[in-house]
Symmetry: C2
Subunit: 483 residues, 2 copies
């Protein structure tokens, strides 16, 4: 099983998969659009209605005309109108209500689709550089040997300098069958590498399954990375396959899962929550609650646990709190805390307002908004999971101090090197650890941390985290599942 | 002469004088409203005009109605309308164009007025505490012995905990003749102090003058802290008085002066810029330039210099660049760089849109926007001028590291104590310096920096900066004025 979500914790900067745009990782901070049942007509444009609100619109109109006529630069109509809508939505003080223009909607739609065409690599902006976070399994990027922490300098000869993530992604992406050449800087490699790939269709999988023997028992692990259109189907296939293989216990892993469609998590809960308790309750502005039920007659015959962390939000929390309230253990750290449901309402010109329509409550009526789901078994990951890439201008060495050094010390500790201090003071034991690391990497043992050494430390750490060998939350879940 | 503006550099958090609200110090980042001549009717509300822009308003109206009808919480009309106006202005990407609601306009008007009623103290929010920056000369606050760094706990028995600066100021302020009791925590004093004052009228002076003997010559120094309605008159009075006393050279100090009214700086430049060159040029959207001239037949017979720093903005830069371009020296550091003129246009209901109407250019047609005025003689203040108050949870001691320690080290160096390191590592020389400081302050020589010791260090440093004894920019100006 790929531990993609752990990366999202490691790379604090917003990561987005090529072709699988923005929304996913942004969702933890901005939320996902969830189309709630029962209310979807979003047109409010009759002439009569406009007339009725003329007096309210008048002040807006007045400001609009003033700006158009007098601002020191010429102003575009569209810019002002979108500004006004952004402004109204901002005034709600709700980070999940937002305006999406035509471009943002196209990106969002891609995210809901189940595949895209490109090279298949998750990228991120790290210290201003377009950086490979991870190639997707069996993708052109993986076959061509792209590695985590590779920095992309140019695409087909065009420099990416100054580009933001979305712009860079749109350059790298392209039609199946087309060729793309990336210039790459790799930590520890002096020369600039040229990597040529043929773009292909990349399936977006949102469910990963695995079976492990634990105390002699066949234990299924299903990771859900997001709740998109096909997720419930994928989940059903994987669950059935594990059950057919004689699974005796199940761990559902929604760590780092920012949420997604309400219907998707509902379809998954239908396998687990019995019919006598709602799996979720939707509350509208007037306080009315609409409970949602499954038609499941009895619970699964095997033990189940849910893994959550601070990156589990929205639909992930619907899943975790429902299973918690019907008696299953939830392992990990307190979840994100998003208890609202958004609906995307098209404005008719391709743009859309994503608006918070409802609150969702747990089966027992608890609202976890801004509180999160508290695990029944609390386990934190090691500190080095939360380190971040550093930008080093002048090589760090003995007797220096600073936040960068603290971060490097945590990384080295995570990699198993012995240090006496991890408080940001570069002591002799830090120097010794750096030399050991440099020896292990076959580079010059300077005992100093320049950008190259720092990059290699980061890459080694990313690989260690991805290997899952030190995943304390998973270990705890496996230890306690049958207790 | 009071060096009030230096405080604004020291206290990076936004400072505002009681009664002399927000705008002044915010102005460096947000700009001041300048009423430009020639265009001032700001009403755009005829029914016909509204009808014409119906189609543009339609999309805004659509979003408005959607939010009103469906957002998960009830929404106020006013909130949405102001949000829309804020949003349109934000879309301009111009930090100087903004919406001021009725409350903000009242504050702004107070700022233009020439006096207020209160206790006469400049306060600031430091680490969440309402803190005295400076009492104004001859004010009730000064007479009652309020001191820089005093923390105000309560006003007439009402705790200020959780209040923001504006709320706290409105509690402290009040009618002339009324009594107010503040509870005060003073660094180095164990007990809470009760300070009783009778509020009074506090004149807002914006011009401070002084005469110094330099190389035997009578040298006038005029500091302008802001360009408000009465500033040009005050300036004229002080200038005339200095000239009557036989002034042989003049230094005009606009450091930390965030700007103000265009007319005000124009009236001041009328004493210095001869009639054959414009003192400023106003450029409108269509590129037309409107040059402004004085009727001065000849330049002053004595040498003049202008002192500027990174806090000198807007009208201060009009003054500095005009005098620079007619041949006077400008001393200090590169100024802020605001080259636009705003106009306040009332919307008829007490609220106002402050909009950038024009660019202003220097006499020779240079636009200093986002570049600032470059001094002809560049001089920086010592590093400790740029330190900031620290919040200490656990006392800092030998072998600790961190940004707080670096800051404390810079402050101690500024106070004249000898340290070998000022890089954030708490070495033995830092410990020794702390002990010396504690000895000088008659407190226990622990060699550790707790909140109390840190507070005393800050207070000592503020007093040193205020004394002006180490003002390198002023020293340089005085040295070079007659060269």
């Amino acid at each position: 099983m790929k531990m993609r979500k752990i990366m999202a914790v490691f790379w604090i900067v917003a990561a987005l998969m090529i072709g699988f745009a923005g929304g996913i990782y942004l969702a933890t901070s901005q939320g996902n659009v969830q189309v709630a049942p029962g209310d979807s007509n979003g047109k409010y444009t009759s002439k009569q209605e406009i007339a009725q609100s003329d007096d309210k619109m008048q002040k807006i109109n007045q400001a609009y005309k003033l700006i158009k006529k007098h601002f020191v630069e010429k102003v575009d109509d569209k810019q002002l109108i979108e500004g006004a809508i952004h402004g109204m939505l901002s005034s709600l003080d709700d980070p999940y209500s937002s305006y999406m223009d035509i471009e943002a909607m196209e990106q969002f739609n891609e995210q809901i689709e189940s595949s895209f065409e490109g090279i298949g690599a998750e990228v991120s902006l790290v210290n201003g550089k377009i950086t490979i976070v991870a190639p997707i399994k069996n993708s052109p990027a993986e076959k061509a040997g792209l590695r985590p922490n590779d920095q992309v300098l140019s695409v087909n000869g065009e420099s990416l300098e100054g580009y933001d993530l979305t712009e860079a992604v749109s350059k790298i992406r392209g039609k199946k069958g087309s060729e793309v050449v990336l210039e790459i800087i790799r930590p520890g490699v002096k020369d600039i590498l040229e990597v040529k790939m043929t773009r292909d269709t990349i399936p977006i999988e949102t469910v990963y399954a695995d079976m492990k023997k634990v105390d002699g028992k066949s234990t299924g692990i299903i990771e859900i990375t997001t709740f998109s259109e096909r997720t419930a189907n994928e989940f059903y296939e994987q669950l059935t396959s594990l059950e057919d293989k004689g699974m005796e216990g199940l761990i559902i892993d929604v760590r780092g899962n920012p949420g997604g469609l309400l219907e998707s998590v509902g379809d998954i809960l239908a396998f687990f929550v019995p019919e006598d308790i709602p799996y979720v309750q939707i509350e509208s502005r007037d306080g009315n609650r609409d409970p949602y039920f499954t038609d499941l007659t009895e619970k699964k015959p095997y033990p189940i646990q849910v893994l959550i962390d601070e990156g589990s939000a929205s639909a992930s929390e619907i899943l975790a709190v429902a299973l918690k309230e019907i008696g299953y253990d939830v392992v990990g750290t307190n979840s994100f805390g998003k208890g609202t449901v958004q609906q995307a309402v098209p404005l008719g010109d391709g743009s859309t307002v994503k608006l918070t329509f409802f609150k969702w409550l747990s089966p027992k009526g608890n609202w976890i908004h801004e509180k999160g789901v508290k695990p029944t078994i609390e386990v934190k990951q090691p500190d080095y999971y939360f380190t971040h890439p550093v930008q080093i201008e002048k090589a760090l060495s003995f007797n220096d101090t600073g936040e960068n050094i603290k971060n490097i010390q945590q990384m080295l500790t995570g990699l198993g090197y012995q240090l006496e201090r991890i408080d940001g003071y570069f002591d002799k034991t830090t120097e010794k650890a750096v030399k050991s690391f440099q020896k292990d990497q076959n580079i010059k043992q300077t005992g100093k941390v320049d950008q190259d050494t720092a990059g290699l430390i980061e890459t080694a750490l990313i690989e260690k985290i991805r290997s899952g060998e030190d995943d304390r939350q998973m270990e705890k879940a496996l230890q306690t599942l049958y207790k």
